[in-house]
């Protein structure tokens, strides 16, 4: 056995060396010289989408990006190719995803989620003629359109609404994971509450921490956290926690007079939440679809956007949904707050 082990070790070692030595063979992009083989109908615009974990169908962030791409596809014709991230992804996987899309002739390519920041820079440098879009982060390469949102401004308005609607002077915020992005939501919300009602108490809680991203996809954790806050006396709860928010809304629905504030999409109109919609005060919508659509349109028009496009409250990138009509009675105060942010008299903190 020992001899066998030695022999095979030697074989493997030489094979491995030979493999590295011959790595100068053709690359996969040379092999796939016919980009049309996997593309769509060939006509129109070929949109490549690289989603964050969850992908199309997450009812929230990725879906919003998908809506923008769908709209563009319908208008300009063409095809969409979608790839989705895994939790075990490394830089190499993200680069591969973007490279595959670029190799196959997709242009523009939209990278959905901040984890693509570095890989977009690298791949964009390799494909200078392809336009890349990056959501929620800022890249440096010239052919990249960085699409970011001022979540703190929309959340500020959510805070104003919560402060005006609370009867117990006590509101809550539930964040999925304590990432810098979610902290922007929290910071804006707390400031909005305090500016409107200095006496109101705000509970802030994150479901999970650090690299444990389960807080974005655990309705049970959301429900538990919301129940805790309600027991503690809060009566308006804003949740920015992906699908965990569904659990929080369910918990709020169980308490009379309590309100939930949704996030990303207009959650009043989401069929899965129809049973609880009478408890959804409003939603802080983040119009990722608008950013994606604008970017694809600019490429279609031959003038690709580049640099950092900031979708602010002023530009309608973020805002409060009015479905249900529950915030109609405080519209004037909300409009006043919005005006102050837009004209710069109120600066909303991001952390």
């Amino acid at each position: 056995m020992r001899r066998v082990a030695k022999l095979s070790a030697a074989c493997i070692a030489t094979a491995a060396l030979a493999l590295t030595a011959t790595a100068c063979g053709s690359t996969s992009s040379d092999n796939s010289s016919s980009p049309s083989s996997s593309g769509g109908s060939g006509k129109g615009i070929k949109i490549g989408l690289a989603y964050d974990v969850g992908g199309r169908g997450d009812r929230s962030f990725n879906d919003s990006a998908a809506r923008g791409a769908d709209k563009a596809e319908k208008e300009f014709g063409g095809s969409i190719k979608e790839l989705t991230a895994k939790t075990s992804d490394t830089e190499a996987d993200r680069e591969q995803r973007l490279t595959d899309l670029a190799d196959a002739g997709y242009n523009p390519i939209v990278a959905v989620g901040f984890s693509y920041a570095t890989s977009v820079d690298k791949v964009a440098a390799k494909y200078p003629k392809v336009s890349f879009g990056l959501i929620d982060s800022v890249a440096t390469a010239k052919n990249v359109d960085s699409i970011t949102f001022t979540e703190e401004q929309g959340s500020y308005l959510a805070g104003v609404a919560a402060a005006l609607k609370t009867k117990k002077n006590h509101v809550g915020f539930i964040g999925g994971v304590d990432t810098p992005l979610i902290k922007k939501f929290a910071a804006g919300y707390v400031q909005g509450v305090k500016d409107t009602n200095a006496k109101a108490k705000v509970d802030v809680q994150y479901l999970t921490h650090g690299s444990d991203l389960s807080g974005f996809s655990s309705p049970d954790k959301g429900k538990e956290a919301a129940s805790g806050m309600l027991d503690n006396g809060a009566d308006v709860i804003y949740t920015a926690a992906g699908s965990s928010g569904n659990g929080a809304i369910e918990a709020v629905h169980g308490v009379k007079g309590a309100w939930a504030i949704g996030v990303d999409s207009d959650q009043y109109n989401i069929p899965g939440l129809a049973a609880y919609k009478t408890s959804i005060l409003t939603s802080m919508v983040k119009n990722v679809d608008v950013g994606v659509y604008d970017f694809i349109k600019s490429v279609h028009d031959g003038k690709p956007l580049t640099g950092n496009q900031i979708y602010s409250l002023a530009k309608g990138g973020v805002g409060l949904a009015t479905s249900g009509g529950y915030i109609d009675d405080i519209k004037s105060q909300l409009d006043a707050a919005k005006k102050k942010i837009v004209d710069g008299t109120v600066k909303v903190k991001t952390s």
Binding site: L19, A23, S28, G55, L83, T90, P180, G210, S211, T350
Partner: protein, 375 residues
């Protein structure tokens, strides 16, 4: 007599190869069925995997991935040989990579010295983290499975607490990524430029060295013998004068130190900083790879390469319109098949051995009686 050992060796070798082969064939069959069930053509999928997976840039990707996975496999295997189930490799490598990155960002020493210090820091952190479980097991009899799972959660929490702007990390432009201070340029590990195919991480040589050391220490030293003995039977080992407690603590420390290396290829060759998107879950991949490789240094290497190949090619399968979940299915099926196939082959081997021994005994018993009759 010489002929006989050769024959047995051949048979053992055959059985040894039969198990993984059986597993891979079974995995291919199951995967084919799954792809058929989704209404796609499995033949095209396999041929795409072959052509795409053997392209030069895929080779570089696979070798880079395998470097990380190999270290993970070895870290787990050290525990396995000792009959210790170190589930905590995951937490150990993450916390080790984090503190190594913090140290690396703060260092102003010459590059070569920084690299050595970073690697040593990672190994020490990993060893300490695993050592906690080792000490608990030795002094209080706490199952290492339970304590390492808990330590994984604690590691996550500690990193989450310290990886904050103003503590040990900084916020990057765009306001969405927090990371430790990046390493100085001269503290990057060397890599081999293969042109269009990308860069091969130099850390692969460290991984190979770890493999050789693992093989040597376990197979060629007194310590390795003691370790394997304890793994096979604690009471027998104790009876022959091995301090079981000391062996448990030491092997946990070594397993943790190797676990500390897992994050190093990524840190020193790729990301150069620890950010909130540092890859997670590699410790669990290591368990699968150690199982696949039967704790054998070469087996683990093959398992790691296979894993890298599967990830590379199934990423591309998704691009070709196959469902992205196929990767999870293939990986799960392979691990299951390997475990089952080894058991089947082991039982078959045992049966063969019994038959052979039985036949030999019968022959021996028959021989003298014949002689007596003659006499």
């Amino acid at each position: 007599m010489k002929k006989l050992t050769q024959r047995i060796d051949k048979e053992r070798l055959l059985l040894g190869i039969a198990a993984p082969l059986l597993a891979i064939v079974a995995a291919i069959v199951v995967t084919t069925l799954v792809i058929l069930a989704t209404g796609k053509n499995p033949g095209a999928a396999f041929s795409d995997m072959l052509t795409y997976g053997t392209a030069s840039d895929s080779q570089v990707y696979i070798l880079n991935k395998a470097t990380t996975y190999y270290l993970a496999g070895v870290a787990v295997a050290i525990g396995f040989r000792m009959n210790l189930f170190n589930i905590g490799v995951d937490g150990q490598y993450r916390i080790a990579a984090f503190f190594a990155a913090v140290l690396g960002g703060a260092l102003t020493t010459p590059g070569w010295l920084s690299i050595i210090l970073i690697i040593l820091c990672a190994m020490a952190t990993g060893a300490v983290w695993a050592g906690i479980a080792g000490v608990l097991k030795v002094t209080r009899g706490v199952s290492e499975v339970i304590s390492t799972i808990m330590l994984n959660a604690i590691a996550t929490a500690i990193i989450a607490y310290l990886l904050q702007p103003g503590k040990l990390a900084e916020l990057q432009s765009g306001g969405t990524v927090v990371s430790t201070k990046p390493l100085a340029k001269d503290a990057y590990f060397f890599q081999i430029d293969t042109g269009a195919a990308g860069e091969l991480w130099g850390f692969i040589f460290i991984a190979v060295a770890v493999g050789v050391a693992y093989w040597f220490v376990l197979g060629r030293t007194r310590f390795g013998f003691d370790l394997r003995t304890v793994g096979q039977s604690e009471s027998a080992a104790a009876a022959s004068g091995v301090s079981v407690k000391k062996m448990i603590a030491t092997s946990m420390l070594i397993s943790g130190a190797i676990a500390g290396l897992i994050g190093m290829p990524t840190l020193l060759n790729d990301s150069h900083q620890f950010s909130n998107d540092f890859p997670t879950g590699i410790g669990f991949t290591g368990i699968a790879i150690a199982l696949l490789g039967r704790n054998n240094p070469i087996g683990i290497a093959l398992g790691a390469l296979l894993w890298g190949f599967l990830e590379r090619t199934t990423n591309h399968l998704e691009f070709q319109g196959y469902d992205k979940e196929i990767l999870g299915v293939i990986q799960g099926v392979i691990v299951l098949c390997v475990v089952i196939a080894y058991e089947v082959v082991r039982r078959y081997g045992l049966k063969r051995q019994q038959q052979r021994v039985g036949a030999e005994l019968a022959a021996q018993a028959a021989a003298p009686t014949q002689k007596q009759e003659v006499a």
